[in-house]
Every structure is written in C-alpha cells, then in structure tokens.
C-alpha cells in the first residue's frame, strides 16, 4: 500500500483568559497576547489568520522560520509535509533538537513549533513532498495557502498548476548561500483594506457637496471674535477661498504654478493675527488640495475588469460590491466615490470640529445607504437573499472605496514560457552587474542543473571545479530558450557553485520573515502583497522586487 502517511496531530487546548473577546460560535481572540499585532490588522484580520490552514513542504530552516512567524501570531493550523529524517546538518534549524537526529523531521519540527503557541493546530505528515505531488496531488486541496521550500523545479511547477485554478496562493521560499528569494503566485487576490502609508484625505474641497458648502457659507469669518477666528478649521478657510477664486476666475480653480502661489499667499493674508495655526494649516493643506478628487487608478482597474461587469450568482462578494460601486460612481456619485467620512485632526474648537465632522459623517452615511441599496438590488437580481453580504461588510467596503485593489499574479508557467517570459527585462539586467536579476538567472540555472543531474551544482567539494562548465552551458541554453541575448556574468555562476545550496540560518531567517509577512497579507487580505518575486542579496544587504 503506497499510503504511507504518518500523520500526528499536536495541539493543546489552553484555558481561556479573562481578557479574551468572545462572539457566539467564534474562536476567542487573546487580546492581551496579540495586542501589538491587533494594532496592525484588527480583529477581522486576526479571525482570518485563525481560519487559515497552511501547508509547508519541507521543514528546513527557511520553512520553519516562516512558520514560526505565523504560529506566534496565531495562524489557525499548519501541516508539515516532509519525508526526511533529521541529520546533523539540520542543526542549522532552531526547531530541531540534537536528541532528535534520526527521527522524522516533520514530526520533530511540528512538535517544537506548536510548543510556541498552544492555540495553533499542527499536523506532521512524514512523506516526501515530491512523491505526494506526483501521486496524490489532491492532498493539497484541503489548504488555504501552500508554502514550498527546497522543492525541485519540475514538481514545483506541477504543484503550481494544481493550485492556480483553485486560487490557492503558493509561496515559494528559497535560501541559497547568501542569496534569498521569494516568489508568490495566486491568480486573483482582492483587497479592501490596503492601508497605504500616507492615505490621501477625502475632503472634497474643490467639489464640495451641498451640505459642506452650506456649512462653510453659514460661517461669517468677518464677524468672528479672535478665538473663533483662529479656531475655524482650515478646511472651511480653503472652501471659502476656493469659492472666492472660482467667482473671480470664471468658475476655475488655481492650476498654474503662479496661480497656486497667489492662491496660497492670498489665504495667508486673511490672517487677523500673526501665527494663527489654522491659517498655516490651510497654507500647507492647499498644496494637497489643488488636485481634483478622482477615482484612483487601482479602483479604475477594478471597474474595467470583466469580473465587475458580468455579475452572476457565482460572483464573489468583492465583485458584486465593485459592480455596485461602479453604479454609484456613474449615478449619485457624479463621477466620484462615496464620501469616506474620515476627518483628520485640525486646529479648531471642540464644538467647531464636531460640527464639521458631523457634516462629513452624515454625507458618508447617506452615500453608504445609497450604496447599500444598490448592493441589495443586485443580490435580488441574481436570486440571492439581500443579507448575503452583511451590513458590516458593505460599510467596510464603502469606507475603504479609495483603497480597493486586486492583484493578479502571473503563474510560474507564464514566467518561464518563451512567449510570455520577461526577456527584455532579463536581457538588460545581464548588462548591469548590480542587478539582482543576475542572481535570479543563476538560481534558475541551478534549478535546471538539478533537473538534469538530480543534484545542485557544487553540492560537494569534489564537484566544485567540474560543475562550472556544465552550469555555464545550462545557463546559456536557458537564456536562449527565452530569447534573451547576452550571457550571464560567470562570477554569479561561480558564486552559486560555491554555495552548493547551503542554507545559512541568517538568510533562512530573513526569508522566513519576508515570507511570513506576505502570508499574513494574503490571509488577512490587508496591506498589499508582493507582486511577485523578491531577491535579497546578502552580500551587500540590498534587495529588489520584480514582476516576472
């Protein structure tokens, strides 16, 4: 019987602590333990982590380091698929004990990983991953994400082909001497909360909605006393100033550099006292306000996607919501997204700030209600219950409308196919010794060497001298096949031979850090993941990302 599965489950239930949040039927979140990370991805992100089921192929150091950074923050479950027995060289791995030499590497590492966080379920399957890929690929259907470490190229491609149509993300990690590499492949990854570093404010100063304009008009700055004047929000100051400019310039807004400068200086001149903080905020705020509000390019791309057009009962919630958003923009939005309702802090009296905050909030609520109605109408049209998408989900989507995104990764096959490979990108890299793509090509050559000879170049000392000639030939052939003119500088091949697929713990740990971070983004659907290749050069501690 070829079913040689040895599968052991490691899990200990932990007593619930008083600081946990509970929702009926939901897993409890340990808020105290996870405080520092909840500040990054909130409870929603944490729940998604808790629901995830990961698979790691090969528990070498790169693999276990990746898992460590996922077990610690509370991933739901992981399975390690690894057919090897622990040997002395595995002592470069933190999740191996000296006493476990000779035992199943899957079992040993699973035990020491689950020990880090008793909430996490760990399974060990002591089977050769290549054998599972060849003979029982349906094994991988149970996972929400797969991490592949030290998997030879041909079986890896087979695995990728199985996961791609199921939209299960594949994360390929590699630590090779002083070089680290990461490749992510998932057909479609949608994001609502991309959480950019410096999100633009949604203040509508050039296109004020009626209520906002009415609020601004209701304030007569000439009649204000000194305190009121210096505590009127800068948003109001600019609304009035833009209106005045439009009246004096035939409805236009400042567009040339001299006009913008004149506008800003004009605003400052209105100060009654020197150093009115709200006026200096208005001066600074003006710079960001000259651009009319528009649909961000990532959102435009969503609207243009065929998936947003043709909505059926099988459509994902995300695309139903995009479709509704498009309808909103085309109708009530008048070309703009729903108002987000967020107002940054600004110099103002408490009362004044509350009042203007309410104006934006009320408009955001109205827009959200219109949007919500459209969503329900669409659901009805496709024969689904109107509460299929929850109020919470609708509200969240609406609030983050400016930050939506969808990433489509090219597959590993597309990367390699001569018709679709990024040949000119690679060709120009070969001419630049500082380009990280040189290492990429060298690693691809090493993979092809493995496919041919069943071992990596320079694997043992006695092969070092002889392997260079073969590796060079293989590299040339590889480049020719994808129509790349030029040759790889032989120094990169020489260094790859030197490494002989050595796994230095520092590089393994670094790649483990990067990979786990990307897994978190893929699982939580927050922040924006890498698209799609990352190369770390540990010789000078630099890196580069590519879309290959």
């Amino acid at each position: 019987c070829w079913w040689r599965t040895s599968s052991r489950l490691f899990q200990r239930k932990e007593k619930m602590s008083a600081t946990n949040t509970t929702a009926p039927g939901k897993k409890v979140i340990d808020e105290k333990r996870y405080d520092r990370q909840l500040r990054l991805w909130g409870e929603d992100g944490q729940r998604r982590l808790g629901d995830a089921k990961l698979c790691l192929l090969n528990a070498n150091a790169s693999g276990t380091e990746t898992l460590k950074n996922l077990v610690l923050p509370g991933i739901g479950a992981f399975t390690i698929l690894d057919g090897r027995k622990v040997d002395a060289a595995d002592l470069n791995n933190f999740f191996i004990e000296e006493s476990s030499i000779g035992q199943s590497r899957a079992e040993v590492t699973t035990r020491l990983l689950t020990e880090l966080n008793t909430e996490v379920e760990g399974h060990a399957v002591s089977r050769d991953p290549v054998e599972v890929i060849e003979k029982e690929i349906s094994f991988f259907h149970q996972f929400s994400l797969v991490i592949a470490s030290d998997v030879p190229e041909q079986p890896l491609l087979k695995l990728a082909r199985e996961l791609q149509p199921r939209n299960v993300p594949l994360v390929v990690i590699r630590s090779y001497g002083l070089i680290g590499a990461l490749r992510i492949s998932v057909a479609e990854h949608t994001i609502i909360e991309s959480k950019p570093d410096n999100p633009a404010d949604d203040l509508r100063l050039l296109d004020p909605f009626p209520e906002l304009l009415a609020f601004s008009d209701s304030l007569d700055m000439e009649k204000m006393d000194s305190t009121e004047h210096s505590h009127t929000p800068w948003v109001v100051i600019l609304l009035k100033a833009f209106k005045k400019w439009a009246d004096e310039h035939g409805g236009k807004t400042p567009s040339t550099y001299p006009e913008k400068t004149a506008f800003r200086n004009g605003v400052l001149k209105e100060q009654k006292k020197q150093d009115e903080e709200n006026y200096s905020e208005a001066y600074k705020g003006a710079v960001k306000s000259f651009e009319r509000a528009s649909i961000p390019s990532d959102v435009k791309a969503l609207f243009a996607s065929p998936k947003a057009d043709h909505i059926t009962a099988e459509s994902a919630h995300f695309w139903i919501l995009v479709h509704a958003l498009k309808q909103f923009v085309d109708a009530e939005g008048k070309g703009l997204l729903p108002v987000s309702g967020s107002l940054p802090d600004m110099t103002a009296t408490t009362d004044m700030y509350m009042r203007i905050q309410k104006v934006y909030e009320k408009k955001a609520q109205e827009d959200a209600a219109i949007f919500g109605k459209k969503v329900k109408e669409i659901l009805q049209k496709i024969g689904k219950p109107t509460d299929t998408i929850s109020e919470e989900e609708i509200k969240k989507f609406c609030k983050h409308a400016a930050f939506l995104n969808c990433i489509n990764h090219r597959s590993l096959d597309e990367e390699r196919n001569p018709n679709t490979a990024k040949s000119s990108l690679i060709a120009s890299a070969l001419a630049d010794e500082n380009s990280h793509l040189n290492w990429y090509v060298a690693l691809r050559a090493a993979d092809a060497f493995y496919t041919q000879k069943g071992r990596y170049p320079g694997d043992v000392d006695s092969n070092v001298a002889g392997d260079l000639a073969d590796l060079k030939q293989i590299a040339e052939k590889l480049l020719q096949e994808i129509h790349v003119t030029g040759t790889l500088d032989e120094r990169f091949l020489g260094e790859i031979i030197r490494y002989g697929n050595a796994e230095l713990h520092s590089i393994a740990s670094l790649i483990g850090g990067v990979a786990s971070q990307e897994v978190i983004k893929l699982v939580t659907h927050q922040y924006v993941p890498l698209n799609n290749t990352f190369i770390y050069n540990g010789l000078n501690s630099s890196s580069q990302s590519y879309q290959l």
Binding site: D35, K68, N69, G513, Q517
Partner: protein, 427 residues
C-alpha cells in the same frame, strides 16, 4: 554533543570555499573560520526582546558561541506574540536570563551569558572585551549612549587619526516598527555613527497644551489630558506606572469622563494603553527580517567571507517588500565622531534655562540633562551642584557669557565626550 563535520555543512561552504565575490583578504579555511567563530569571537547582544530573541537565535545558529546579552526588562504577557524564547510561565522573569537559558538548551555548544541590568551599569573595560556589538534596542537614548561608548573606545592620535585599528568594535544596529525597520553597520570613526543620523529621529512631539486643556477633539486628547494634567492633580507625587493595572484603569476611566464632557467618541482601553505607553505595533515577521540582516552582517564580519552592508538599509513592507540600501555619510559636525568645536547662535536675552531647553528640543542635539561650564566657572551642573548653580537658570545669557566664549558641555547621552560650543549672538 554532535560536532560531526556534517553539522557545519552549510556554514563550511561559506567559510571553507572561496568564490568570485569573496573579497581579496578572504582565506578559505573552514577549520580556522569555525575556530574563530566558536572559540575566540566574543559577541555582545544588546536587548533580549523582539529583536534580541531573534538575534540570539541567529547568532547561535550561524556558529557564534561566546555570546553575552544585556537586557533590563522582565517579560510581559504581550511580548509572547513575537519574543519566542519566552512562555506564559516566564512572565515577570528577566528577559536576558530566560533567553540565555533557552538558547543554551536548544543549540548545542551555545554559551550565552545574561546580564539583567542596564547597559550603563557596565564600564569601558567591559565593552572592550567584545569583537562585535549587535543591538536590538527600542530607545534612542540607549543607542546614543552605546554609540558614544564604542566611538570613544577607538584609539586616536592628536590629529584625530586612528592609531590602533584593533580598538574598533563594529556596532551592528537595527530597529523595527510595524511593517517597517532598518539595519545598519557602524564602524566607529570610519563610517557614520548613530549620532550622525540623530536628526532623523526628531524628539517626540506632544499635542499642544491648548488642545488638551481647552479644545480637545480626538479621544487621544482626552487620554493625554488625564495623563498630563489630571494624574498629578489627583495623585501628587505618586509616579504613574504604566504596568500597574490599577493606574491604567484610572487613566482609562478618567479619559472616558473627559470624553463624555465634550461628547467625543472613541476612548477605548486599547487606545488609552497605546497613547499612554506610546505603544508601537510589533510582529515577529519584521523583527525576524531585521535581526537576520544584522546577524548576517555579524557572520560576514567575523568570517570575512563576503562583502558588507555599506552601511544603512531601510525596510518597508506595507506595500510589497521594499528595501533601500545606501551609504549614510559621516556628518562632519557630529557631536560624537565629528569635529569637536561647534558654533551655536543664541539670543543674548534668552535665559540659561531657555538655552538648555533649546538644546533639548533641537533635533540635532537632544541634550536632556546638560551640565555647562564657561571660562572655568560652572554655569549649571546637574546632580550634586544643581542647588548651588540653580540661580543662573533665570539669568540672561548675556549676563553669563560674552560672544565668542566657548562653553564646555557634558550630557549623559554623550558619555565622556565634552562638547566645545562657541557662543554667537543671534540678531
């Protein structure tokens, strides 16, 4: 213990084989390389927290054995999401000790020696013992102190030239915050030092008092009011202890009351903690990445097997994975490693206190506790002589010094380095 050749298979390929990028001075010799790493090299790790745990693991697993670690903290439950050498049962115990014990148990041959205390507890002779210092600190002040110490250890002649390169102790530093971080290699007196980049870490700006006291708008303002105004009013001299649950609850309840007064929403316990403790979000992934970059540099420095980080790498993982590596240049006017005399402009009518406050707020100086002398007289001295020199604080600068006078300033952040500051009147 398994010290079979096989254990070092991976490392041997780097220390025992040369390659096109190895560098001219590299002598491939796996035995010699390993001997230095394991027997002779002494590494000092500063911090046993988020970065420190990762550093200890990485250094031990790339072959270092003689590792010392300093940390003054005890373990908190909220550390457990990333500081993986600690368990629930360890809460309350010293980080350095628990971390050292774990590594020594897990990694055969590792000899991590912990010190539960401050870096300032140790003297120059202590720091001299090490070949490398690798840091995972969470405080600007501590970094400055350590940096000044290591720069000071470098032996220079009267012209300021290095006359004994063996006194240079490479200082590898790193820091993280959420999905961001940085790692750098400092070769004291050769590359830029930490102080050279001080102005990129400007002093923390607090909310203006008039906002907190009169015009609160955000829940944060209400929390700060409780912290800055009401605590002292209510508890007088009792110092607020953020780790005391009773104190924190009082802070939260008080902030809620304040928010009710102004109809402000959003004061939660988590927000209160965040504001009051200045909590920075932290995860294992970013700490792992930055610490690994540091440990990788340490490995290369100790084995000479490859090139180096020259000398600053910034990291941002919010969108994609992005690093920027560049040579942070030495600052000629650096207070620690640059020229020793500076000219500073001050208004003649400013008081000595004003002058000292300016030095504290100035991003390039950030001198929190300066002691100042001029022409042999003490203008203001911290500590024992504070009472005797207090009266000078309210005097105008023009009453105390003349234009062109040189002030001698010392400050704890700069260790034994005395600044010579020539005074110029500002119009």
């Amino acid at each position: 213990m398994t010290d079979a050749q096989a254990r070092w298979n991976h490392i041997n390929k780097l220390t025992g084989r040369t390659g096109p990028f190895a560098g001219p001075e590299f002598e491939p010799n796996s035995e010699k390389g390993r001997k230095f790493l394991q027997e002779d090299c002494r590494v000092l790790v500063i911090g046993a927290g988020g970065l420190g745990c990762e550093l200890l693991k990485d250094l031990a697993l790339v072959g270092f054995r003689n590792i010392d670690v300093i940390d003054m903290d005890t373990i908190d439950y909220s550390n457990l999401n990333r500081q993986f050498l600690f368990r629930k049962e360890d809460v309350g115990k010293p980080k350095a000790e628990v971390a050292a014990a774990f590594i020594n148990k897990r990694v055969p041959g590792a000899n991590v020696v912990p010190y539960f205390g401050k870096i300032q507890d140790k003297d120059d002779d202590y720091y001299r013992q090490f070949n490398l210092v690798v840091a995972g600190l969470d405080s600007i002040d501590a970094r400055r102190w350590l940096n000044a110490t290591l720069v000071n250890l470098v032996s220079v002649d009267e012209q300021g030239e290095i006359d004994d390169p063996d006194t240079i102790i490479p200082f590898i530093d790193g820091g993280t915050e959420g999905f961001k971080g940085q790692a750098r290699v400092i070769l004291p007196r050769i590359t830029s030092c930490f102080e050279c980049s001080l102005d990129t870490f400007p002093p923390q700006v607090n909310f203006p008092m008039c906002t907190i006291a009169t015009n609160p708008r955000l829940p944060e303002h209400c929390i700060e009011y409780a912290r800055v105004v009401l605590w002292e009013k209510t508890w007088n001299d009792t110092k607020f202890d953020a780790d005391n649950t009773e104190h924190m609850k009082w802070m939260f309840d008080t902030a809620v009351e304040r928010a009710k007064e102004f109809n402000i929403q959003g004061v939660t316990y988590r927000l209160t903690q965040g504001v009051v403790k200045r909590i920075i979000p932290a995860i294992a992934a970013t700490n792992a990445l930055i610490a690994a970059a540091e440990a990788n540099e340490a490995f290369k420095v100790a084995t000479n097997c490859s090139g180096y980080l020259n000398n600053f790498m910034m990291y941002n993982g919010v969108a994609g994975v992005y690093t920027y590596t560049f040579d942070y240049e030495k600052k000629p006017e650096c207070l620690v490693c640059g020229i020793s005399e500076i000219t500073y402009s001050v208004k003649p009518d400013a008081t000595l206190q004003d002058f000292m406050d300016a030095l504290g707020a100035d991003a390039a100086y950030q001198l929190k506790k300066p002691s100042i002398r001029a022409s042999g007289k003490s203008l203001y001295m911290q500590g024992a002589l504070a009472q005797a020199t207090m009266h000078n604080l309210t005097k105008k600068m023009s009453e105390l010094v003349e234009e062109g006078d040189v002030l001698d300033i010392v400050d704890p952040s700069l260790r034994n380095i005395a600044l010579s500051m020539k005074i110029k009147w500002q119009a």
